[in-house]
Each structure stands twice: as C-alpha cells, then as structure tokens.
C-alpha cells in the first residue's frame, strides 16, 4: 500500500539555468557521458517585446507519475512504483529491451550503455538513506527544487503545494496524461515539449487486459526473455534519448492539489 508520495515542487521562476543540478546528478549517479537523468529546458524569448524578452527556465526529470505508462510498458516488472510513490527500476530485472523509453511522454528515460539497462531519476535512494536530499535538490543555488513527501503535510513540499494550491501546474501531454508528481508553482514554460507515449502493440493489449502478475509471468518466460535479449544485443548503443515528435499543446492544470487520500503516515525523515 502507498505510504508516501515523494514529489518535486519546483519554483521554475527561480531557475537560473546554471546546470548545477545536472552535474550534481551525473556525479551522484555515475551517468555516462552524453546522458543525463535531469534537464533544464528554456522557453523562447520574445525579442519583439521591447525591454522584456524574458526566458523561463524549467528544471525537470522523471516525474514519478501517478499513472506511469513506463510501468505498463515494462515486460519484466523491472520498472515499478514503490510504496513511497517512486517509480523505480530494478536493474537486476531489467533486460534493456527499451520498451519503456518511448513510453515516457517526458523523455525522462534512456538506455544506459554501460549498464545496458533503462535509466532515469530515482530520487537518489542512497543519499536519502544517508539523510541527504537528492543530489539535484541539495545543490541547487536558488533552491528552485523542493523535494518531499506530499502525503505528509509537515514536509516542505506539501506545505509549498498547499500554499500555492490555487496556481500549481503540471506539464501534461494531452494524449498521455500520466498525472505527473512534478508540480510547478504558478506558470511555467516551455510546455510544448512532451510527446505521446508510444507502447509496443503487444504490450498495450496485454497490459490493458491482464493483471500485473500474469504480465510478469509472460515477460519472464523463457521466450519473452530470449526475444527481449535478442533485441537488446542487436540494438547496440542508443546515441540519443531525445525523442521530439510533439503532439499538440500540453495542458496546464490549475488545481487544488492534495496528495492522495491524505493518509497521515509516518515517513522517512528528510
């Protein structure tokens, strides 16, 4: 049962695009050259606007969605959402098939060429075990990123959400609404960069009708593994994980967000 929902609440207006979060994450997680678990996107300035062209910088990473399509796309159960609401990848189960990568509307996943498994933000569990914040949050110069359990009303993240509940927004792809747990205070930009989730047809059918237990049994059957393994060996190294086929404008959701059914449970100390 869900006992927490870790999330990021981001005041993107504070972001100065310094990339401290990007480098901090790369060091903490040993991400190979050319890949990153997080990013900062920038809006297009309007140079026709006189003295106010303005650029908005928007930090992002895996959004640990409430309805993660990547989980549905994973044939082995390696990608799953844990009891803290964190979408995890069990590297021992991941066979590197790559199905989850286009299934993420945010392009938050990539195939790690060293580990030969899927890779993305996992909120730095080792650091949290040491009582530290995720690397990107800890290092941020302007403290634009705030991390915490939004089911725990005492957490900074929950308090910030509550404080700004009337104008908090999410970046959502209209065709693949995964209910992301990354919340931006007030407006944010850009918002037109997500893409529609792409699911392998067989997986889509299966996950639509079959319960997860069966899905995993199929996924881990000898045949399934062989097929996926073959695909992995043939796929070589992904040189990019940046899919960019847009599908229309995304939705800004203005809403009074509250987390889950407000189970007041004890959670990890931050």
């Amino acid at each position: 049962m869900r006992k927490a929902q870790y999330a990021m609440v981001i005041d993107s207006a504070k972001c100065i695009d310094c990339k401290a979060c990007v480098v901090s994450c790369k060091v903490a997680n040993g991400t190979p050259e050319g890949f990153s678990r997080n990013w900062i996107k920038a809006s297009e300035p309007d140079f026709a606007a006189g003295a106010k062209p303005r650029t908005h910088f928007q930090p992002g990473a895996c959004m640990h969605c409430e309805a993660p399509i990547c989980v549905d796309a994973c044939p082995t159960g390696a990608t799953y959402k844990n009891a803290d609401g964190i979408v995890m990848i069990d590297e021992t189960l991941c066979i590197g098939c790559g199905n989850c990568i286009p299934a993420c509307p945010y392009g938050a996943r990539f195939r790690n060429p060293q580990k030969r498994t899927a890779d993305k933000c996992n909120y730095c569990p080792e650091r949290r075990a040491a009582g530290l914040l995720p690397a990107c949050v800890d290092t941020c110069p302007t403290k634009a990123r705030v991390f915490g359990d939004i089911m725990n009303p005492e957490s900074d993240a929950a308090r910030l959400l509550e404080q700004h509940k009337d104008h908090v927004v999410q970046v959502i792809n209209q065709k693949s609404n995964t209910a992301p747990h990354m919340y931006y205070l007030a407006s944010t930009a850009p918002v037109d960069w997500t893409h529609e989730a792409v699911m392998p047809a067989s997986m889509a059918t299966m996950t639509g009708v079959v319960d997860p237990v069966v899905k995993t049994l199929v996924g881990l059957s000898g045949l399934g593994v062989l097929v996926m393994l073959g695909r992995q060996l043939l796929s070589g190294h992904d040189s990019s994980h940046d899919s960019s086929h847009d599908s229309g404008p995304d939705v800004h959701t203005g809403s009074d967000v509250q987390a889950g059914q407000a189970h007041k449970q004890q959670t990890d100390k931050e």
Binding site: R2, I16, V27, K81
Partner: protein, 733 residues
C-alpha cells in the same frame, strides 16, 4: 512560446484525471517472490566519510562537504551550514571531482625537451627540478638583479606565499590576475568611498546591473540573494548589457545598451537625481564632498543627450533614475566585478560609485556595505634589502594609480618585450594562465619566448605551462593543506575557511608552498619559510580562540561582527574624509576629479565590437577542459545577430573566421537576436594551443588571440572591449 491551455477543474475531476483515486491498481508491483522487486527494500546508505573543505573551482571559496569512499572522492556536496554560499554548490563545484581525477593532470616534473612551445617534455625527479629552479633563479638574480625575475600568481589560498617569496627574493615584479579583471572597479570605489564595498543584494528593492551578469558569473552570496530578493521580496532588476545574458533573461527589464556608453547613462541618471532633487539632502551634506561641483558638472549630461549615446530612450533613463531614487536607500547600481573593458574604465566606475552615493545607500541595509571584521591575523615578516635593485617595478609610472601589489600584467608584458626600464628574464607562474586570460596572445607568446627560465606550477598543462621551461605538478584543492582565508559574504556573514586534504595528493604533485620553501632553503632564504602551514594557521588564529573548533564542527567559523553602521562617526579614507563625489586627489594629480564622458570609438563599417563575458560553467580559462563541464559546452561559438549574419551570408552553425588587428580564429557562428547588430561575443578559454588540454586543444577560438591590449588610463587594468573584428564565412575546405 506556445501557451498551454489553463484548465480550471474541480477537485474531484482532478483526482479523476490524475488517477490518484485509482493509485493502488496502477502500481505495477509484482508478486513473484525472489524475482520481485522489493518495493520497500531499504537502500543502504553509502559507506562514506565526510570532510569539510572550501571549493576552488572559482574564487568564491564556497563551503563543501566531500564524500570519500575507500580513499576516493565520490561526491562533492554543499556545506549546508555555509551561509556565504547559501548552502549551494554550482555546476563547477560539483565538477571538482572531474578536476581531481582528470587524466590530463600533470603528474610529475617535466623539463622542456624541444623548442619552446613545441610540447616535448622530459620527466625529471623532483630534486633535480628544485635544484634547477634555485640555480636558474640565482643565475638571473646575479645577472639582472633580483627584479629580473617576475612572479605571477592567481587567486589562491597559497598565493600569498608566492608574494612572500618574491619579496624576500628581492623582486618588486609581482603580477596577479586582478589587473585582467577588477582593479579599475576597486580603484573607483576606493577613490570614492575609501574602500571597496560589498553589495547587500538580499535587502535591496531595486538593483541596476550594468554589464554585470550575476546569474551566470556566479558570486556568492550575491547571485543567490538576487533571486531571493526578486522572488520573495519583490526587488526589481534592470539590466543594461549589449548581450542577452541569463541575467537579462530573468530581469524585469533588459536594455541592450551601446557598448562603451555606460558612463553616459549614469551621468544622465545623476543629472536627473540632482536636478529633480531626488536625494536625501541632509545625508548628502553630512556624508559627501563636492555635491555642488557635481551638480554643475552633470548639468550638461541630459537624458536626451544620453539617449543618443546609449540607444536607450530618454524616458526610460528618467524613469529608472526616479525609480531608483524612490527605492533609496535600498537601491543600488550593482558594482560588478570584471571591469576590464575600456580605457576610461576607472572613470566609468567612478560614475557608478557617485550614483550610488546619491542613493545614500552606503553602509545601510540594501545598499553598499563596508568590510566587516573577520579577525584573522597576518603573519608579518621583514624582507631583506637589496642594494643592487632598480628603484621600482618594471611597469611603474606608466599609469598614475596602479595597485602596488597587483601591477598591470599588460604593461609589465610590454616592459618585458622592450627590455625597458630593465630586463626581466625569469618568470615564476603559479595557477594563473595569462596565455588564455590576457589580451593579445601573440604578445604573451613573445614574452614567454624571451625568458631565460620560466617555471609554471599548476595542475594541468595550460597554454602558459606549454610555453615554460619547467612545469611542476600541483595538487588540486582537495589534496591540500591551506592557510586560513577570511571571507565576507555581503550581509550574510564574515567567516573563515581552511582546507585540509580530503584525499592524499595524487601522483608526484606538490603544493606551491612546499616548492617555495624548498627553493628558499637552497637560496639561503630558509628563515622566511621556517614554518609549517599548521604553524602559520595557528598564528592566523591568534585572536580567534574558537575558530579551530568551529571549523572542525561546521566547516566554517563565523565572526559575529557588526554589519551596518560601521561608518557612524568614522572618517572615510579620502582626503576630505567623506565620500568624494569630487575627488580632490585626482584634481591634484591633474586627472578629472569627476567623470568626463568620452564617446567610444565608432564601430567601423562591416566590423563588430568584440565583448567578453561569462557563463556558469567556466572560470577564466581553467575549467573548459573539465570532463563534466566540457560536456555542457564542448566548444565556444560566436554570437552574431541574424541581421548582421544575413548581410555577411552566414547561416547558423557555419564556420566563420574572426579577425582583429592582433590575431584571428575560427569557430562556429550562433545566430541570436540576443546580441546587438554591431557586437559579437565569444566565451573565454577555448582554442587552446596546448595538446595537454585534450578536450579543448584547437577546439573553438581563443578570445585572447583576438583581443587588443589597451589599458585603463588610471589603474592599468586591461581594456578588453576595445577590439573590432571582421567576421567572414569560411568555405568548407
């Protein structure tokens, strides 16, 4: 920018949309025993040891915590107790690990084995290297007097030992990085307020930034505090810059001012504040000197006149002046740091300082702060006297107000090339890289060529090391024991930091202190270095009994000294003992006592003014080759306005040749409306000559190869914005 649709939805439909209600059924946890991921498995905390230190990827010395696992630094985190940096570590700070473990690091002493600059080296043992250094220094000292040896050290916690060595060795010729950076700013504020101020950004309601780029060229705590003031306290930020920097991108207003006309803008602001009597008359009468002269002087500098000079509408100039005055004393013209731009750079900054004085913001919250007490003691020494020495530095007397201990690198270099007033034949360089940072690289190469013996102590084969006779490997900041350093973080703190080695020094690297101590011993100067760094620290802490304990506990010692009102009843260090709007000393020396505007040279047809700037990844020329930072920006490009590019037939990303009166370079063009049509820009530190910088060797273009070498007439600071360049499309060969 496409606008996403704002959806106002009820709470119930929100939960429906986000599937929160159905949360449990969606989480694809599996139940296959041994193969199932352990949803609640507690991940073990890393088995690391944590050590405090101070970052050295730039000059800010932010507090950090190094996580060390099995003798290896695995992560650098911010020290949350370090208020100067507001508990943060920037991209460079995080990339310190890649500096420490960079395969490009110097590993052992290297002696030149080919022609100078050919890149051929022979590994030699330390003892031979040190003996040779002492022997060559003695040779040059005997032949050309002790002043025949030049010492150049960058900003570092051990650089004071280089100055100390130079002085006991007998040489007046010491240059620092400062004369390529901020001495004109320091000069101007010293000659206005009697000291160089700190900006109390966090308490300011209105910040005018002229050419400063605080959201990219990070200064702690100012960069963080500016955002805090803007987001949480409604502080207004107005930026004047020919380039659309990230600071401009986040500002309330950006005005792409014509380069070199900042003083015109400021004189008009002063004109408005005085003519409309928007100043605190009582405060001005009590604290300042020369208001009447100033009023007469600026009457000619009207907003309409300034508008024609700067390309900023007169209405905006008047409005900004009024807004700043209305927010005073919690408003400021941000002093900035790198002010090496024009030949009247000191006078330009004098106009900023005077405008600040009119806002009555000196020594008050939200204004400009005086230096607070930190409490470290100096460790004095009594250098010997050398009868055979010439009377002064080699660059003495060329400009009226040079800083004795910084010198002027550009003027020193000219003197070296001329051999006048006397020859300089030896060069000791520690952690500074004038080949990449000083303008007119061809002259720096010529300077290196004519040295009899150059030693460079650094962590990598920089372009300056590449031109040396002997290169000695230094440890990085994470492997060193450093003396204490006192810092002020604006109104946040006055504090002390130290560095203890976080890991053992790699390879055969040795700190510059050990090198100097050894060489001093060989030159019969051992008495001036008869201490260890620990002993030196103990003397520094003579009056701070609690400091050592605090440093062990928190990684920082704070002195709870007074922040505001330091000048109540205190005289300013100026002739009038007040804030000098009219500088009497300048008048006595025949300099303009108040800033007089000279229009910058017109940009010739089909040419552009080349301007210098920073981003958040690179410190001068020292971090471009860092693997993690290089990944963020693998090469530099030339910023060019699309209209100008169209005239020249240049498309985005095409290779162009940039040429000035002193050099040329090739790099790709980046077309952007974020730069004026008459201006181009490129980042420093690329186009390295040295093959030892494997990632940036011959990558992009070197700005130092293009910039001409004029100087500020008062301080001798380099003037880096006086260069015009042509830009031509390179036909792919």
């Amino acid at each position: 920018m496409s606008e996403g649709r704002e959806l106002k939805i009820s709470r119930r439909s929100f939960f429906k949309a986000t599937g929160l209600a159905a949360a449990a059924s969606l989480s694809g946890g599996t139940v296959l025993g041994g193969l199932a991921p352990q949803a609640c498995a507690a991940v073990a905390a890393p088995e690391w040891e944590s050590h405090f230190s101070a970052c050295d990827m730039c000059f800010n010395k932010c507090g950090l915590v190094a996580r060390v696992q099995q003798g290896r630094v695995v992560k650098l985190d911010p020290n949350p107790k370090f208020s100067k940096s507001r508990g943060m570590l920037c991209a460079r700070g995080n990339a310190g690990v890649a500096q420490l473990y960079d395969p490009d690091r110097l590993k052992y002493p290297l002696l030149r084995a080919g022609k100078r600059g050919e890149g051929k080296w022979k590994r030699i043992p330390w003892d031979e290297a040190l003996a040779m250094t002492a022997e060559k220094m003695q040779e040059i000292r005997t032949k050309y007097t002790p002043c025949g040896y030049l010492f150049s050290a960058g900003a570092d916690m051990q650089s004071a030992f280089v100055s100390r060595f130079a002085e006991v060795f007998g040489s007046f010729n010491v240059t620092s990085h400062e004369s390529l950076c901020l001495i004109s700013n320091n000069r101007a504020y010293l000659d206005t307020f009697g000291e160089v101020p700190f900006a109390d950004v966090i308490n300011s309601k209105y910040v005018l930034m002229v050419g400063a780029n605080r959201f990219e060229a990070l200064v702690t705590p100012d960069s963080m505090d500016l955002m805090t003031a803007m987001r949480e306290k409604g502080c207004k930020l107005v930026v004047l810059d020919p380039r659309y920097t990230k600071t401009a991108a986040l500002a309330d207003e950006w005005h792409p001012i014509r380069p070199g006309t900042d003083m015109a803008f400021m004189l008009a602001v002063i004109n408005v504040i005085i003519s409309e009597k928007l100043y605190d008359a009582e405060w001005m009468a009590e604290k300042t000197f020369g208001l009447d002269q100033l009023a007469g002087h600026v009457s000619q500098y009207t907003p309409a006149w300034a508008a024609a000079e700067c390309g900023i509408p007169a209405d905006d100039i008047v409005r900004i002046a009024r807004e700043m005055a209305a927010a005073a004393p919690q408003s400021m013209i941000y002093p900035g740091r790198r002010t090496s731009d024009y030949e009247d750079s000191t006078q330009i900054r004098r106009s900023f300082a005077i405008a600040n004085a009119l806002l009555a913001n000196w020594d008050r919250p939200g204004g400009l702060l005086a230096a607070r007490a930190v409490g470290l003691k100096g460790v004095p020494y009594d250098p010997p006297w050398y009868d055979d020495n010439p009377p002064d530095r080699v660059d003495a007397g060329l400009v009226p107000m040079m800083f004795e201990h910084e010198g002027s690198f550009v003027l020193t270099r000219d003197a070296v090339l001329k051999g006048e007033p006397y020859p300089l034949k030896g060069w000791f360089v520690y952690k500074t890289n004038p080949m990449a940072t000083a303008p007119n690289r061809a002259k720096t190469i010529a300077m290196a060529e004519q040295m009899d013996f150059t030693v460079v102590v650094d962590i990598a084969m920089t372009d300056t090391a590449h031109m040396a006779d002997l290169v000695l490997p230094a440890p990085s900041y994470l492997e060193r024991l450093d003396p204490a350093s006192g810092l002020q973080g604006s109104s946040a703190c006055a504090c002390v930091v130290v560095r203890d080695p976080v890991v053992n020094a790699l390879y055969e690297s040795r700190p510059v202190f050990d090198i100097l101590k050894d060489v001093a011993g060989r030159l019969d100067l051992g008495e001036y270095f008869d201490f260890t760094i620990e002993e030196y620290r103990t003397r520094q802490f003579a009056e701070l009994p609690d400091a050592m304990e605090a440093l062990r506990r928190d990684g920082v010692y704070y002195n709870p000294s007074k922040v505001y009102g330091l000048y109540e009843g205190k005289a300013h260090k100026t002739l009038s003992q007040k804030i000098e709007l009219f500088n009497q000393r300048y008048a006595d020396m025949g300099l303009d006592p108040m800033p007089v505007y000279t229009a910058p040279a017109k940009v010739p047809n089909n040419q552009f003014r080349l301007v210098v700037g920073r981003n958040a990844y690179f410190t001068h020329g020292s971090t471009q080759n860092n693997a993690l930072l290089h990944e963020l920006m693998p090469e530099n490009t030339l910023w060019l306005h699309p209209d100008a590019a169209q005239t020249l037939g240049i498309a985005d990303g095409e290779l162009v040749e940039v040429a000035s009166s002193v050099g040329r370079g090739e790099l790709k063009a980046s077309l952007t409306k974020g730069i004026r049509t008459d201006t181009v820009y490129m980042l420093t530190g690329f186009g390295a000559i040295s093959p030892g910088l494997t990632r940036i060797h011959n990558v992009g273009a070197s700005i130092s190869a293009l910039l001409d070498d004029k100087v500020d007439a008062i301080s001798g600071n380099a003037a880096l914005h006086t260069t015009f360049v042509t830009v031509t499309r390179k036909v792919a060969s």
